[in-house]
């Protein structure tokens, strides 16, 4: 397990952050992740294969998610990998949320000061 500082991963790209959030509820396979993304975005076009797997691979390499070798959902079938968020991933997502909140409050403050 990596001992990296969550802050060193920030800022996360919106896609990476969205994927971590989706995995917070429960582990999912790729098709499940795509479904959740589509639901959140109200998108009609599912995540393209190349984009999704580059994000998954990158998060996996950084230790933010991992392939759950134990879990195997009933509907998953034999060859679907189940991806789940790691403790580090959880901390990074939390850190990113804090960072975003700061960004947001900063923005709000400025927007209030300078409404033009």
């Amino acid at each position: 397990m990596r001992t990296a500082e969550p802050g060193s991963f920030l800022p996360l790209s919106p896609a990476d952050f969205q994927l971590l959030l989706i995995l917070l509820d429960r582990p999912r396979h790729a098709y499940g992740i795509a479904g959740a993304v589509m639901e959140q975005e109200r998108a009609r076009v599912p995540l393209e294969l190349g984009s999704l797997y580059r994000i998954l691979a990158r998060l996996d390499r950084s230790g933010l998610i991992e392939v759950d070798t134990g879990a195997r959902s009933v509907s998953a079938g034999p060859r679907r990998k189940i991806y789940c968020i790691t403790e580090l991933g959880r901390s990074v997502a939390t850190a990113e949320a804090h960072r975003l909140r700061e960004v947001l409050s900063l923005a709000e403050a400025r927007l209030t000061l300078d409404p033009a």
Binding site: A15, A30, L49, I55
Partner: protein, 885 residues
């Protein structure tokens, strides 16, 4: 239209995506490849359920492009996977916008792709039906054709009597049957028309699973002195206009009055192997007809059977061999070959018999169109490379503004896929429009009526386009996205070095492939020219053929009388001269041999016999060398006269004059004495490809035994006025003898070489298109190179180089590419030309002259394509070019 099944779609799509996954590094593929494919399949099922095949195609295209783009980016190890996962639509929109600003570019790039895709799709549609689909009969795997194997590999028809005997010997077969072909006149108040008839055995309709769409099939009792008929859908429409009460209608025929009891289904297609025996009027085979037994020596019937065990063709053939030996023992005169051995029987799978030799020919055309598509794709890649070099500043700017490399690759790849899809869509439409013509004009194409561009074929076209777009978009996308903003944004002149090697390789490849096509076209054209130059020994210009068919029930005096009357009627048509006729046309071969005794050795010989009307030789321009022509007034009761061809005369009486000598022969009727009355020059009676054979001509009036007669005459008037005049003449001669064919003798003889001409035409067409694309390719690269070297040209001009030096400098580049391409192409063509061997006449597949011509043409085209930009460069004003410095 039948759509492909979901498993088929999934398999095809998986294949495409798994190929595209190779863009990722191996480690990545090992870790995520299988999971990514499962992810694809999950969504295919969903997309298929939602929007059908189109949705699947769209999903596959998107995943293929994104896999390649992300894979390349992963290898490059930088950038995020595009600016976000949902920018694909933006990329497509950007691609369309950017292409819409350059319609000329789109046309030049997509046009050749459209032609290539159209060719591949149309040919695949034909291959799909002809070679890949099972025959449209129940359990097609157990169907075999039964026939008599000939030395040339053909399975010839067998006699009806033998077929009936085989019906009883089942064993290795579950059922044996067949059809006898023939024709009959059908009479009504306006005269007679000729109909081809099919005489099925009792088991035949069951063997091929045929049930009438209306009415009923034949009862077992109707196979004796039949009085019933079943008509095809086509005949029903033609004769009765499709009225519902056709059942019970009566047809007056040479076979007697027949009552229609059934109509065949509209879409039923007879097995191609029985093509010669498939007519529109089906009448039960008459098992009690004494002619059946009398004609045991003649192959009038095509046999079809169902194997008891489809895997055991050997046992079936073993049994047929035993049957053949038994038949030869029971009826030796009818079942023995010329050399005294028994006539054999053999069963071969019906599908293989149907496909025949056409597989090789279709393979040839497919190779041609696939090569054309490759050339077109190389052209697209080349154009994108040149355009990419033009867009370096735009790309650099976008890089500076934050576009990742993956995003750029996707963007550029999208443009080439869009071009490929435009080309593919237009190509598919072209294929849809042209496939019927292709099927109709391909000589001897089995199952031509079934050929269509359906979903399966369209899916192939779409997949081909996407793959072509990806494969050939990769090089320019990768090369173009490799920018160095620091340099590209500051340099004033264009940098011509980027992608230059790739462009040169593409042009060399294009030229090499073009050489292969042009060489094929040149060899076939050379062959066709040689065929056209063959002297057949008779004339065809302004000679016409009109064939009439009398009832076989007509007696000999009436038949003779008709032929004389019809001859007179023809002669009375204005513009007609030299009326004569023959049972079989010169140049079309002959079916009947005359058994004669060699006058010196007494040894029996067989020579082809040609039954002609007096005046035949002068009508078709065969020179009479000695003696005289036949006398029109001599009939069966006069001394039998014969005219021999020069080579037969040399054969029988070497060095002597044959006129006045006698020949004895045994024809069906017994021994006959013939007096030789003349000698004529030799002709190639089997057409230009055939050898000269000795021929024995006799007068039809002395042996008027066949109901069909091909009248030949010379006519120099208006061809359009001829047919109505002929119809009137035929009606005046006898309203109950229909005209069955009117054609020019040149066309009939030309049918001998239709295959050679067809493939020569196709390959020449491919060659011309390929030459055009290659010329554009060379022109584009040389033009681009010149535009990047303008400064160099300016400096050279400034230090005293002349216009000619500049032209030479530029042309040298085009010439170099051409020479390397031609060299490579000639090597490939020499290896590939063997597949043409069967179509070549007196031309070797390695014919040095053809190859020399091809090399010269290609080099000349390349030089010509380089000359235009070279001349432009020579006119460059050094001051104008160097001033910005």
């Amino acid at each position: 239209m039948t759509g492909p099944s979901l498993p088929t779609i999934v398999r095809a799509g998986r294949l495409i995506v798994s190929v595209c996954l190779y863009a990722f590094p191996a480690r990545f593929r090992r870790q995520y490849g299988a999971d990514a494919l499962t992810y694809y399949v999950d969504r295919v099922v969903e997309a298929h359920g939602r929007t059908g095949v189109l949705g699947v195609l769209s999903l596959t295209a998107r995943d293929a492009v994104s896999a390649v783009a992300a894979g390349l980016a992963e290898r490059g190890g930088r950038g995020s996977p595009s600016g976000g996962p949902f920018c694909y639509r933006a990329d497509v929109a950007h691609g369309f916008r950017s292409l819409r600003r350059h319609p000329g570019f789109v046309l030049a790039a997509a046009g050749p792709v459209a032609l290539g895709v159209a060719g591949v799709t149309a040919v695949f549609a034909v291959i799909d039906i002809v070679l890949l689909r099972p025959l449209p009969y129940p359990d097609p795997d157990v169907l075999v054709e039964v026939g008599r194997p000939l030395d040339n590999g053909v399975l010839a028809p067998i006699s009806t009597a033998n077929l009936i005997d085989l019906e009883e010997a089942i064993g290795a077969f579950t059922e044996v049957g067949g059809v006898q072909g023939g024709s009959t006149l059908v009479y009504d108040d306006e005269g007679a028309t000729l109909e081809q008839i099919t005489r099925p055995t009792r088991a035949f309709m069951n063997i091929v699973g045929l049930d009438p769409a209306r009415g009923r099939g034949f009862n077992a009792s109707e196979f004796r002195e039949p009085t019933v008929a079943i008509v095809t859908h086509d005949l029903w429409q033609r004769r009765w206009g499709g009225v519902t009460n056709v059942l019970g209608a009566t047809l007056r025929t040479d076979l007697g009055d027949l009552t229609v009891v059934g109509v065949l289904p509209r879409d039923w297609i007879p097995p191609e192997a029985l093509r010669g025996s498939a007519g529109d009027l089906w009448v039960p085979l008459d098992y009690s007809d004494p002619i059946v037994q009398r004609t045991r020596a003649f192959g009038f019937s095509s046999g079809v059977a169902r194997l008891a065990d489809p895997s055991d063709l050997g046992a079936a053939n073993e049994q047929l061999r035993a049957s053949a030996l038994a038949l030869a023992e029971a009826h030796p005169s009818a079942n023995t070959e010329n050399d005294g051995t028994p006539r054999m029987l053999e069963a071969r799978p019906l599908h293989a018999q149907t496909v025949g030799q056409i597989g090789d020919r279709l393979g040839l055309i497919f190779a041609g169109v696939a090569t054309l598509l490759l050339i077109a794709c190389a052209n697209v890649a080349n154009m994108f490379l040149a355009r990419g070099a033009d867009r370096r500043r735009e790309i650099s700017l976008r890089t500076v503004l934050g576009a990742g490399r993956a995003r750029l690759v996707v963007q550029l790849l999208t443009e080439s896929v869009v071009i490929a899809l435009i080309g593919g869509t237009v190509g598919c439409v072209l294929a849809f429009l042209s496939v019927d013509t292709l099927a109709a004009f391909t000589p001897d194409l089995p199952r031509a009526g079934e050929v269509a561009v359906d979903m399966r074929v369209t899916a192939l076209a779409a997949a081909t386009s996407v793959l072509a777009g990806l494969a050939f978009g990769m090089v320019p996308a990768w090369s173009t996205s490799q920018v160095d903003p620091g340099r590209d944004l500051t340099l004033t002149a264009l940098d011509g070095t980027s992608g230059q090697t790739a462009r040169a390789v593409l042009v060399v490849g294009q030229i090499a492939l073009t050489v292969v096509l042009v060489a094929g076209g040149a060899l076939l054209l050379n062959s066709v020219v040689r065929l056209a130059m063959v002297e057949v020994g008779f004339e065809t210009d302004e000679i016409y053929v009109v064939t009439t068919r009398q009832s076989p029930l007509t007696d000999k005096p009436a038949s003779t009388n008709y032929v004389r009357t019809m001859g007179d009627q023809l002669a009375a048509i204005p513009g007609v001269s030299h009326v004569s006729g023959s049972m079989f046309l010169p140049g079309e071969g002959l079916p009947v041999q005359l058994e004669i005794e060699h006058p010196a050795s007494g040894e029996p010989l067989k020579r082809w016999r040609h039954s002609v009307l007096p005046g035949f030789f002068s009508t078709v321009g065969i020179p009479l060398i000695a003696g005289r022509d036949f006398d029109p007034s001599e009939g069966p009761d006069d001394v039998r006269e014969i005219v021999v061809s020069e080579s037969l005369a040399d054969d029988l009486w070497p060095g002597e004059s044959p006129v006045g000598r006698t020949l004895s022969s045994s024809v069906g009727q017994g021994n006959l004495e013939w007096v030789v009355i003349g000698v004529v020059a030799d002709i190639r009676n089997g057409g230009p490809k055939a050898e000269i054979q000795g021929l024995a001509y006799h007068s039809w009036y002395q042996d008027p035994w066949m109901p069909s007669m091909a009248f030949l005459f010379r006519y120099s008037g208006d061809a359009a006025a001829l047919t109505p005049a002929l119809r009137e003449a035929a009606v005046r001669a006898d309203v109950n003898v229909p005209l069955t064919d009117v054609s020019a003798l040149a066309d009939r003889v030309g049918e001998n070489t239709v295959e050679e001409r067809h493939y020569a035409l196709l390959l020449s067409l491919f060659s011309l298109i390929a030459l055009g694309i290659a010329a554009v390719g060379v022109y584009a690269t040389v033009t681009f190179t010149v535009s990047t070297r303008l400064e160099e040209v300016g400096i050279r001009r400034a230090v005293g180089a002349g216009g000619a030096d500049v032209v030479a400098l530029v042309v040298r580049r085009g010439l170099l590419q051409a020479i390397v391409g031609v060299g490579l192409g000639v090597v490939i063509a020499l290896l590939a030309s063997k597949i043409l061997a069967g179509l070549l006449f007196e031309v070797a597949p390695t014919d040095p002259l053809s190859f020399a011509v091809v090399a010269t043409i290609l080099v000349a085209v390349a030089v010509a394509a380089s000359l235009v930009p070279a001349m432009r460069a020579a006119r460059v004003d050094p001051l104008m070019v160097l001033r910005p410095r």
